[in-house]
């Protein structure tokens, strides 16, 4: 058997790819359909070994004797408790780029989570067997078919038979349920592929796991692990933090770590402000009105929401630019604590002399708690609404009494976003209408804000600088890059590169700016797949 996987798109550990086996092509994540095994005949050439992977944690010696030794596939015969399944899958995923086939574990309900954890291939073994056992599967519920009065599904089987199905003989009923369950799983796989394409999988998984306590526990265990450079820093999807697991998203952890690392406020005075539903905050009605009435010139700002905390300088950065939370005005104790910790980190990093908190209610609790963590004195300026006359008056007064410094906000936005994204600063003259800004050095454009991903898109001058500094570089073989650079064409790459990063590629003749579709490590290790989308190109 000859098998190879060619990556098209990543969403964290989940990947959309083309699997080629003995000349046949399959789009992954995929399902091996044992009701139509002839279409997946390669499955009988796979070495499953005797012992399941789950034996490893019990008896490593015997596992070594009996394990799968397949060259093409990682066989994830995992079981049974949430923690074991998650740890096994992550262990397998982080140790090899081979396609992972997790047999006999997928159901329509757990499929999104399995794919989120890096599974490429599943099958319909459980849908078949459970079908014969009388289990009627849906994507977010499971029933004993005997309990059902109606069949809430549009698949061909349910459309044809309806609840009459229950009255059939066991063999016939089993066959039909197997087909129904398979149809639902297959449909779910299609949906998951779409979610990967749109980088939406995590939002979806957070909701889905709530259907089942074991799946919820699995996601919680997964969040205790580091997915390494597979986690993107920038995404084009909206972050929808609706659950407590939203607070432990890898993307969010990355943001908080990085934003504190690179925060260099230009003023010794900072104003803490509440978030707004509209993003970027600065264009919201409340922030616009506040800035119309009060001058924030020469002072820094930090905007607080749940679960995000961001300096004004990073408000165009993912996920600050791209999130939408349920707003009820209530803050739970955990929320206050979580957000206060993040705010405190920024206050400490910023070494401010004056901290003004122009916030009320839950936000004020956060500010208070953060101040106590950071050991800072805070001046509270809100009396009722942040736009009430007395609030405005007090804020003006506090600002009048505070030291100010001279800096240009847009310039700082570029400087911060560049440090965030590349680890080095960036300077020039900002132009454009907020939030679509461009940065010029002389007559050359250096970079522009990319609101789709919440990042900077750069131009060739800055690409040359990255090359000099050996940052986010991809060395490619000697050909003229066009459209997409494939992994086969990559000679070497910066290990820090994550999917969706803006990178600079080069060979002896050409160089240019592109967007990574995989991690740097993968570009080097994988033999196939989309490595970099070319955006701009020049000659050295």
């Amino acid at each position: 058997m000859q098998a190879s996987l060619s990556l098209e798109r990543r969403d964290g550990l989940a990947r959309l790819a083309v699997l080629e086996v003995d000349g046949m092509r399959y789009q992954t994540p995929m399902m091996i359909d044992f009701l139509q095994k002839e279409r997946f005949s390669f499955v009988d050439s796979i070495d499953f070994g005797y012992a399941p992977y789950a034996l490893k944690s019990i008896d490593e010696v015997r596992f070594e004797m009996l394990r799968s030794r397949d060259e093409n596939f990682t066989i994830a015969t995992v079981c049974c408790r949430p923690r074991e399944i998650v740890e096994s899958l992550l262990e397998l995923r982080m140790s090899s780029l081979k396609p992972i086939y997790a047999p006999a574990i997928a159901t329509p309900m757990n499929l999104p989570l399995l794919v989120y954890l890096g599974v490429d291939i599943v099958d319909n073994i459980l849908p078949i067997v459970k079908g014969y056992e009388g289990v009627y599967m849906l994507t977010d519920a499971e029933f004993s078919v005997d309990m059902l009065k109606e069949l809430p599904c549009n698949c061909p089987v349910c459309s044809e038979y309806g609840a009459e199905m229950k009255k059939l003989g066991n063999e016939e009923r089993g066959k039909l349920l197997a087909r129904h369950n398979t149809a639902v799983l297959e449909q779910q796989i299609m949906l998951v592929r779409e979610l990967i394409r749109q980088e939406e999988l995590r939002n979806f998984v957070e909701a889905r796991v709530k259907t089942n306590p074991e799946l919820t526990a699995m996601l919680r265990f997964a969040d205790m692990h580091d997915f390494g450079s597979f986690v993107p820093r920038f995404k084009r999807s909206m972050m929808k933090p609706t659950t407590s697991e939203s607070f432990t998203r890898p993307e969010l952890a990355l943001f908080f770590k990085r934003s504190v690392e690179i925060y260099e406020p230009k003023s010794k005075t900072v104003v803490i402000l509440p978030c707004s539903a509209r993003k970027p905050y600065m264009l919201s009605k409340s922030h616009r009105e506040l800035r119309r009435r009060v001058s924030f010139k020469g002072v820094c700002e930090i905007i607080v929401s749940s679960p995000l905390v961001s300096p004004r300088e990073l408000e165009l950065c993912y996920p600050v630019m791209n999130y939408d939370v349920p707003v009820t005005g209530q803050w739970s104790g955990d929320e206050v604590e979580y957000v206060a910790e993040k705010l405190a980190a920024l206050l400490i990093r910023g070494e401010f002399d004056t901290v003004i908190a122009h916030v009320e209610r839950g936000y004020a609790k956060v500010a208070e708690r953060a101040a106590s963590i950071a050991g800072a004195d805070v001046i509270f300026t809100c009396e009722g609404d942040i736009l009430s006359p007395s609030s405005i008056e007090k804020l003006k007064k506090a600002l009048d009494d505070s030291p100010k410094d001279s800096f240009d906000l847009y310039r700082e936005i570029f400087a911060h976003m560049s440090r965030y994204q590349f680890g080095i600063g960036m300077d020039g003259r900002p132009r454009g209408k907020y939030p679509n800004l461009e940065l010029y050095a002389g007559r050359e454009r250096v970079a522009r804000t990319d609101m789709r991903y919440g990042m900077l898109d750069i131009d060739l001058p800055f690409a040359r600088r990255l090359l000099e500094e050996r940052l986010y570089w991809v060395e490619i073989a000697d050909f003229e890059p066009k459209g997409t650079i494939f992994a086969a064409g990559v000679v070497d790459a910066d290990e820090n590169i994550r999917p969706n990063d803006v990178v600079v590629f080069y060979n002896s003749e050409f160089y240019g700016v592109g967007m990574a579709r995989m991690s740097g490590r993968e570009m080097v290790e994988a033999e196939k797949g989309f490595a970099v989308d070319v955006r701009k190109k020049g000659r050295l």
């Binding site: 044992f34 499955v43 499953f48 070994g49 005797y50 012992a51 399941p52 789950a54 034996l55 019990i58 008896d59 015997r62 004797m65 009996l66 066989i75 015969t77 079981c79 049974c80 047999p103 006999a104 099958d123 073994i125 459980l126 078949i128 067997v129 014969y132 056992e133 066991n170 063999e171 089993g174 197997a178």
Partner: protein, 312 residues
Amino acid sequence: MVKPVASWIEKERFHGKAVRCLTVILRTRGCYWQRCLMCGFSYASDSRIGLEELKEQIDEAVRDKEFEVLKIFTSGSFFDAREVPPEFREYLYSLMRSMSVKKLIVESRPEFVKDEALKELASMPFEAEVGIGLETSNDFIRENCINKGFTFEDFVRAAEKLKDYGVRVKAYLLLKPPFLSEGEAIEDAIRSSMDVAEYADIISLNLMYIPSNTYVERLWQRNLYRPPWLWSAIEVLRQVRSEGIEIMCDPVAAGSERGPHNCRKCDRDVAMAIKEFSLSQNVADLDVSCDCVHIWQRVVELERYSRLPLVR
């Protein structure tokens, strides 16, 4: 006074008809090997057991009993002198003669099947049968999935030696060693039966059950192992018998979650059918049915991919 672990009267096939058989499980010092993954007999062993204690047990077991066949199970090998002193064998043989027992059935690992003991046995007026726990004719499986510690070649040598002395050979085969799927287990048992047929006078198919404090119990508790379906036993018996081979099976703990089972509803009937077949050797006795056979068919087909039990 030491009592046997257990003893009971049951039906046993003897020259084509069912006769009374006393089965005695003797407490001994235990099997020297004790490394088989499904071995749970150590609970029946006691290092203080010597000649006298063995005699006490057999005396207790035969008292007031009528039977034609005597079946002795130790926790290990009847011919292992460390476990069963030669003096006990003598004592037993003379006891049997005094009771006119017609047949003795014992068990032994092949390495203890030696000329000395066989010569003695061959000289007795009753028929003798020695069971050897071959489990499978596949050395890889026996070694890696059961950890039996001897080869098919070892078994063949022992069986031939037993034949030379006119002692009947019973080959124990294990249905569903750990790490085999349901389908692989069926195939292995059928293949093994064929391989063994020319060396054994009779084949006994043992259906795995989960003894306490065993390796296989740990697997079972973690859902890495499920005892075989009774349908699988029926499949093996039917196919092997259809080759003209004599094969019997006495399911232990059938229908319990630790024993071989189908869907619970049909377990009693199916186990009964297996027992009847074992006495009659008539495949028609295996004709039982239940809806769960369709689930079993899927399991046979698919467990080879899952490597994990698909159904409780």
